[in-house]
């Protein structure tokens, strides 16, 4: 059915999953403050958080089945939003699951950490729904503020505090750019609604309007910070290294995906018509990001830093889909962030399983000979590395994700052959560091004074196993995911007056 967003009750229906998550998170916040901080309490709040996320996923599944659409308004009701929501919720579940074990080991007993994570996720869902620049801003801020706190969760660690402060300062800075960009775009078009911006940009032809061009540039910079595109990536390695490992995973997969989702919707719905004015800079951003991320990752000794740079490279790959901006690239985008989320959580799961108090065992060389003592863990890590590398079969779904991006780039109305070639060449560079991890684990002997490895238990183990199995199985039988992501292109709002159809400003392609 078509939801009329001007009717409050129908607006509530359209926003219900977000509201349920946020309300649930608030109840959990009260509950977590109710009892004294303890290990057991932290775990039960965590489990409740996971249950909440699963509930919301089920709700969203209903919405997908009902195939609602909506009239023009501040939020969108389409599969683009629902698919993104499910990916965010999967990321949240993964993070909470890893956090419960990690917090226990690092004597972090604040149960609120899980609640903050739910708030951040609610912010992401708002961002995915937003069809208005103000809602975009709201979503980004809800998400970011929660994550600033999460980065500093480990109060006893100086690095964690440094990461939080750095993330906060640079994040606030980026928000400034974003807000200024929004203001200028508003000034140029007289609206913050994405659909209307798209229409006006198309009708009036504001391409040569300086205010709009500067506004778009500032928006690119703002989002560039959030998703860590080179040259706006400087904060990422330090923050990723300092933050508690599960939160790093959340930032690398969830936060990046969410910012990209917002980025994507704004660009597709509002600025598609003036693609020539931003195509060039975006093209170069993608190329520079892929090159810088991959090249710098080569020289990293710390596995979290290495994955931080690799996540920058992945931001570059994802940006390719935005440069191409076709329906095929939208589904490639969704497929990619899904696959990337799985691989990232798997890899960070292994790191959590091996990490010990005080940042021990975070050097890649600490993984030497892991295979000889813990063959399954090493094999799982190899799968995650190959998935991030985008290797077929052994890297499972990771290959299909990269394949889809290359396909979308080549199949665009203006084929981006050069971009596709640059993408695959930089992927080969990434083999240098992903394979290094594999090589160290399988082909080096165990260090003599290496700490003993205990097999991962409980939630960590479930995350690693689930990620590995999903990556491998979906790598061979991806049909369900393909169908799912293919439907996830953003659909333009249904016009309230059918006699005057909208310009195709908000149509993709």
């Amino acid at each position: 059915m078509t939801l009329d967003l001007s009717v409050p009750s129908q607006l509530m229906t359209a926003f219900a999953p977000d509201i349920v998550l946020m309300a649930g998170a608030m109840i959990l916040l009260l509950w977590s403050a109710w009892k004294k901080e303890s290990e057991a309490h932290q775990r039960s709040v965590g489990v409740a958080g996971i249950v909440l996320c699963v509930t919301v996923i089920v709700m969203i599944a209903f919405y997908i089945a009902r195939a609602d659409s909506s009239t023009p308004g501040v939020i969108a009701v389409d599969n683009f939003r629902w698919t993104a929501d499910i990916i965010f919720l999967i990321a949240a579940i993964g993070t909470i699951a890893l956090s419960m074990d990690y917090n226990a080991r690092h004597a972090i007993t604040a149960a609120e950490s899980h609640v903050l994570l739910l708030f951040a996720t609610a912010g992401m869902m708002t961002l995915a729904a937003a069809r208005d620049l103000m809602i975009v801003f709201l979503g980004i801020e809800i998400m970011s503020i929660a994550v600033y706190v999460l980065a500093g969760l480990d109060r006893r660690s100086g690095r964690s505090a440094e990461a939080a402060l750095k993330y906060f300062l640079l994040g606030a800075f980026a928000t400034g750019f974003l807000l200024y960009g929004i203001a200028l775009v508003y000034g140029a078009t007289g609206t913050t609604n994405l659909t209307l911006i798209g229409e006006r940009v198309a009708q009036v032809g504001l391409t040569s309007n300086m205010m709009l061009v500067v506004g778009i540039a500032l928006l690119i910079i703002g989002f560039g910070f959030k998703v860590a595109l080179a040259p706006f990536h400087m904060w990422a390695p330090d923050v990723y290294e300092g933050a508690p490992t599960p939160i790093t995973a959340y930032m690398a997969a969830g936060v990046k995906a969410a910012a990209f989702v917002g980025f994507f919707r704004i660009w597709i719905e509002a600025f598609q018509q003036i693609a020539p004015s931003w195509h060039g800079p975006m093209w170069w951003l993608a190329v520079v990001t892929m090159a810088v991320g991959n090249l710098v990752a080569l020289s990293q000794k710390n596995i979290k830093r290495m994955l931080a740079y690799s996540s920058i490279a992945h931001a570059g790959y994802i940006l390719v889909t935005l440069v191409v901006a076709t329906p095929a690239s939208t589904s490639a985008f969704m497929f990619y962030i899904f696959a990337y989320t799985l691989a990232t959580f798997g890899a960070f799961g292994v790191i959590v399983a091996l990490e010990r108090e005080g940042g021990a065992r975070l050097a890649i060389d600490d993984y030497a000979g892991l295979w000889s003592v813990s063959p399954w863990l090493a094999s799982a890590m190899a799968v995650f590395m190959l998935a991030l590398l985008g290797f077929p079969i052994f890297g499972g779904i990771g290959f299909l994700a990269k394949y889809l991006i290359v396909l979308a780039a080549l199949d665009a109305p203006v084929p981006q052959t050069r971009l596709a070639v640059i993408l695959v060449v930089t992927s080969v560079i990434s083999a240098g560091y992903y394979l290094y991890v594999v090589m160290v684990m399988f082909m080096r002997p165990r260090n003599e004074n290496a700490l003993p490895v205990s097999a991962p238990t409980g939630w960590t183990r479930s995350v690693i196993t689930a990620a590995a199995i999903l990556i491998l199985v979906l790598g061979i039988l991806p049909n369900s995911i393909v169908r799912w992501t293919e439907r996830s292109v953003s659909t333009p709002p249904v016009s309230s007056t059918p006699s005057a159809p909208l310009t195709n400003a908000s149509l993709v392609r």
Partner: protein
């Protein structure tokens, strides 16, 4: 035999079965390694037995293709076509022609021998080693069977990982360097080939008004590439295959990988995986881009590189103090002949190239096995650390001599047939190049005969060499089938040639006719752009 095979519906299940059997075996080995309560020695032994059993079964199953294959039929045989990812236009399509048939049989023939050859030399993590070998078997067979370019690409890359681990974990001293070099060298051009495959599939889909189309037969029927695009795409395929062959100057990964790999790894690399490259040229690069491949400039460059490879490989082999490295470089030389035969593109030269592909697999495989055997005894591959050991290990000496002679191309042994046909066929097209290439045969005789003379027949001047044990029963039974094939193919290669003839003839005709029509079309449209 044919009646029996058709009564069990052999053709309808053989190819998927060949892909699945090793995977099941590998899964069994990996799980067994985790759950077993046996002592390490016992579990290693059962891992060997399982791997050997699985691969013998694989060989027996594949052997039926020899009879069920109809040599006169140019169409795909034993075809299987299943929908896989319909949204992307990807199908699981398998089939064999005469060329693929021989490559599949070569693979299934060599793999069980590789298990025998690793029987005692692999001591750590035996189960995993054989599991990887089984996965590798599936990957290699998949490359030969695939009729869907997406599937082909998957299989092409799948081979890399097991081989990477086999070299990197069980290899020699410089194994880390060799394995990474092998991986990255192969991966870069393969990914470029992926881009080319996608371009091709999208192009074919656009013409048909559908999504991307990866079916080999469809792509073959679609001929509307501009000459420039065809040249670029050919270049991408060329890069992927030329590295695998390896053609001079893309060969530098080969000596490292071959020397550092464990014996069975070297045998698989030389015996089968190098053939992937030449097979790729035959199956994909030539038929899909006949205009580009038959472009006089391109052709001259490739033939020149092939001849340089022949001479260079032979000359470098001659000065190697390490026998394994000598054989590795000899591969560069032999594969140069194959490339010459392919790009001369006459029926004889192509048949010859295919024969060399088979013969090189057998002879070089046998050489690597023999080197592995003597290395296990003395832990040295240096030629001058031996000398006159023919008196100590007569069986070994006899076999090494025989296999070397076959590799040199002595008439009556297998190597002769292929090289003779290549030179005969190429002479019609490239007389000058062929004459230069012929000297490669002489060099081959020089480096191998000189090496076995120093190793086997000089005076026995080192005391520690006086008590090397001769080959045991396992090693002799490993060599027996290889020797039998060496003699069989040398004396009576006709059954093999007959099975490959139709496919070769079709290929030659197809490429030449298409190249001609494309050239005419290009010359009639002055801009050189056609659609």
């Amino acid at each position: 035999m044919q009646a029996f095979l058709s009564s069990i519906g052999y053709n309808s299940w053989v190819l998927p079965a060949l892909l699945i059997i090793p995977v099941v075996g590998a899964a069994l080995l990996l799980l067994m390694g985790q759950t077993t309560r046996q002592s390490p020695d016992d579990s290693s032994h059962s891992a060997r037995m399982i791997a050997f059993g699985v691969l013998v079964l694989e060989f027996v199953v594949s052997l039926g293709l020899w009879w069920s294959f109809d040599p006169a039929n140019a169409a795909w045989q034993a075809s299987v076509d299943v929908s896989w990812i319909p949204q992307w236009g990807i199908r699981f399509t398998l089939g064999v022609d005469g060329i693929a048939l021989m490559m599949i049989l070569l693979t299934t023939f060599i793999m069980p021998l590789c298990v025998l050859g690793s029987w005692t030399s692999i001591k750590k993590k035996v189960g995993t080693y054989f599991a990887l070998m089984l996965l590798l078997t599936s990957g290699m067979l998949g490359v030969f069977m695939a009729r869907d370019l997406f599937l082909f690409y998957l299989m092409w890359e799948v081979m890399l990982v097991p081989m990477y681990f086999i070299i990197g974990i069980w290899g020699g001293e410089r194994r880390l360097y060799a394995s990474v070099k092998f991986f990255i060298y192969t991966m870069l051009p393969s990914l470029l080939m992926l881009v080319a495959i996608l371009y091709l599939a999208i192009h074919a889909g656009n013409i048909a008004g559908t999504g991307p189309n990866f079916s080999y037969d469809n792509l073959l029927a679609t001929s509307a590439l501009t000459p420039t695009a065809a040249l670029w795409l050919f270049g991408a395929f060329f890069a992927a295959f030329a590295v695998k062959v390896p053609m001079f100057p893309f060969h530098t990964w080969l000596p490292d990988a071959h020397v550092e790999a464990p014996t069975a790894g070297s045998v698989i690399l030389a015996g089968i995986m190098l053939k992937m490259g030449t097979f790729g040229f035959l199956r994909f690069a030539l038929p899909l881009f006949p205009g580009a491949a038959m472009n006089p400039t391109v052709r001259t460059i490739i033939v020149t590189l092939s001849v340089i490879g022949i001479i260079y490989g032979a000359l470098v082999a001659m000065v190697q103090p390490d026998f394994k490295k000598l054989v590795a470089y000899s591969s560069v030389s032999h594969l140069g002949f194959v490339m010459l035969g392919i790009f001369a593109l006459t029926l004889e030269s192509l048949q010859g190239a295919l024969m060399i592909m088979i013969n090189h697999g057998i002879s070089t495989g046998a050489l690597f096995f023999l080197i592995g055997m003597i290395y296990e005894r003395k832990h040295s591959r240096q030629i001058d650390s031996y000398g006159g050991i023919a008196r100590v290990v007569p069986m070994f000496a006899a076999l090494l001599t025989l296999v070397s002679l076959s590799s040199i191309g002595l008439p009556g042994l297998n190597g002769f047939v292929g090289e003779f046909l290549v030179l005969l066929g190429s002479f019609k097209v490239y007389p000058a190049f062929t004459i230069i290439a012929t000297t490669g045969v002489i060099f081959a005789a020089a480096y191998l005969l000189w090496a076995i003379q120093r190793m086997l027949f000089n005076p026995l001047d080192k005391k520690e060499n006086e008590h090397i044990p001769d080959l045991n029963w396992r090693e002799l039974s490993l060599m027996a089938p290889l020797v039998a094939v060496i003699i069989w193919l040398g004396v009576y290669p006709a059954p093999v040639l007959r099975r490959m003839e139709t496919a070769s003839q079709t290929l030659v005709t197809h490429v030449q006719e298409r190249a001609l029509t494309e050239r005419i079309a290009a010359s009639t449209s002055p801009t050189g752009v056609q659609r």
